[in-house]
Amino acid sequence: MTRDTEQVRQPGICVGRDRGNDRPVLTELYHALETLKRCGKETIVDIKSLPFGSIDEQRLAEFLGKGEVEAVLHALGESRITETAFPGIWWIEHRDEHGEITAKSIEVANIPGILKSQHDDVADACRRLGSLVQLADPDEEPGSIET
């Protein structure tokens, strides 16, 4: 990662230089990834709570890059879950219905928890599907239908 010494200008915002505040996060991510590899322990870093300047987060995102997976969750607004170019490191952005970011984190995991189907939702889906199947053919038990 090269140090960018050029000023970054954004309308209405004080100009800023690279302050290197993203570098400690990279070190933390390296250790978290090493821990995930070694013992499977997951780590979450809250990006919103870090004292980033205007360029630090952009530099961190550019450094991590994009990997093979990008998922969009539609619940209470849109959430984007993106695997970075470093498998096991996921960039997660939660937005509300108006597109405002409500949480932003980096999750070091094989798969982020929020992507997994949740037990309550699975149970609810099971009930709904079961009643639909019974509605279609009330003489048949859902489990006996050949697919």
């Binding site: 100009v15 800023g16 004292p51 619940a75 939660h94 108006h98 949480a103 928890g113 037990h119 939702d121």
Partner: protein, 371 residues
């Protein structure tokens, strides 16, 4: 307090309400992740928050506005379009807020009395504004009741009190010299209830809702600092969390608002920044949908979340300038980093107290001279 809140009979839990709104479990987890971020808690706390919200009941909230400018309410209501903050607010029953409620006059006061009776010992009291006590408290009344009488009456049945804004927390501008109305903060009047001070002029809206969310989630107030402020948001100084801090450590300062240092975004300490002596979450939570905060916009921190910040002298004089030349002090900052930063913060706090004691008036000329 926790037991009192636990006995709250409002049967529907937060999780129930979200499910009734058609929000999936995944959506609920997202809500919990956003709430953790709102409360400045570690993302690792999300499962604990989810478990707590599964059983959290809907508390009654009575909001009293006393000697204030409505800036605190504006901060909260104008901050975000419907978002996690409003989702949090939807989970409480705001039974009285004379600025926001439709009812007025006797009907409004009846709503307050009814909420107090139905939730005796369980409701949350939010106060913004200072309380004038001089001359029997006649300088601010609501429905013919002095602020001090109303505060004492409502506080008596409250489970806990949130003093929102620097006026309610520390007296604010009403308490500034010469304090013509005898303005006092909540904590000097009510001494037998748990009080959390969410200071700031105005306070950061996400901090207000963060404290509400903490109460809603864990049925208790968050951990507090020595001034009664939630540690999660006031645990570190603006200076320590400032993205310009590396420039301070390198001894690179803007000397005026339009010099090379200002254009390059260097540290604003010498332009009067009170960041080293100010504890708040502006540098990380930021304002206006997380756009920026005063220092990022090129203006020094005023120190508005600290007690008596109006009486600390000019906003545009460096913390150490009023009594002596700081060049000698600051030059040691080059290369010494955080250790000196902490020391400078201690010196700044000490000198701030001296500046308060030697209060001087500020004119336009002062502002021009300092730039």
């Amino acid at each position: 307090m926790g037991s009192a809140v636990e006995q709250n009979v409002r049967a529907i839990t937060v999780a129930d309400r979200l499910r009734a709104q058609g929000i999936s479990r995944r959506g609920f987890l997202k809500f919990c992740a956003s709430t953790a971020s709102l409360m400045a808690l570690s993302p690792a706390m999300v499962p604990a928050i989810a478990r707590a919200l599964e059983n959290a009941r809907r508390p009654s909230v009575i909001w009293l506005s006393f000697q204030e400018c409505t800036g605190c309410t504006e901060s909260l209501t104008r901050s975000h379009s419907p978002s996690v903050e409003s989702l949090i607010l939807e989970q409480v029953s705001l039974d009285y807020h004379h600025t926001l409620q439709a009812a007025s006059g006797e009907a409004a006061e009846l709503a307050r009395e009814t909420a107090m009776q139905e939730n005796q010992g369980k409701y949350l009291l939010v106060v913004d504004g200072s309380i004038p006590v001089k001359d029997g408290g006649v300088y601010s009344t609501i429905a013919g009741i002095t602020n001090v009488d109303m505060l004492n009456e409502v506080a008596a049945g409250a489970a806990a009190i949130i003093a929102v804004g620097s006026c309610a927390a520390f007296g604010g501008i009403g308490h500034a010299r010469p304090n013509p109305t005898g303005a006092m903060p909540v904590s000097e009047i009510v001494t037998d209830k748990p009080i959390v001070n969410v200071s700031g002029c105005p306070p950061i809206p996400t901090v207000i809702t963060g404290v509400l969310a903490h109460f809603l989630t864990f049925n208790k107030l968050p951990d507090l600092d020595d001034l009664g402020r939630p540690l999660a948001f006031f645990g570190q100084s603006i200076h320590d969390r400032c993205y310009r801090r590396p420039f301070y450590d390198k001894g690179l300062f803007a000397e005026s608002f339009d010099d090379e240092g200002a254009r390059k975004g260097w540290c604003l300490y010498r332009l009067g920044c009170k960041g080293p002596a100010t504890y708040n979450a502006c540098a990380t939570t930021k304002w206006n949908q997380g756009t920026s905060f005063p220092i990022e916009a090129g203006h020094p921190c005023l120190g508005c979340s600290e007690p008596d910040f109006w009486d600390m002298g000019s906003f545009y004089r460096a913390l150490s300038i009023p009594t002596e030349d700081t060049t000698r002090t600051l030059v040691y900052g080059v290369g010494t980093g955080a250790v000196l930063g902490a020391a400078a913060a201690a010196v700044a706090r000490s000198r701030k107290s001296k500046a308060k004691a030697a209060h001087y008036k500020v004119s336009v000329n002062d502002l021009e001279e300092s730039t």
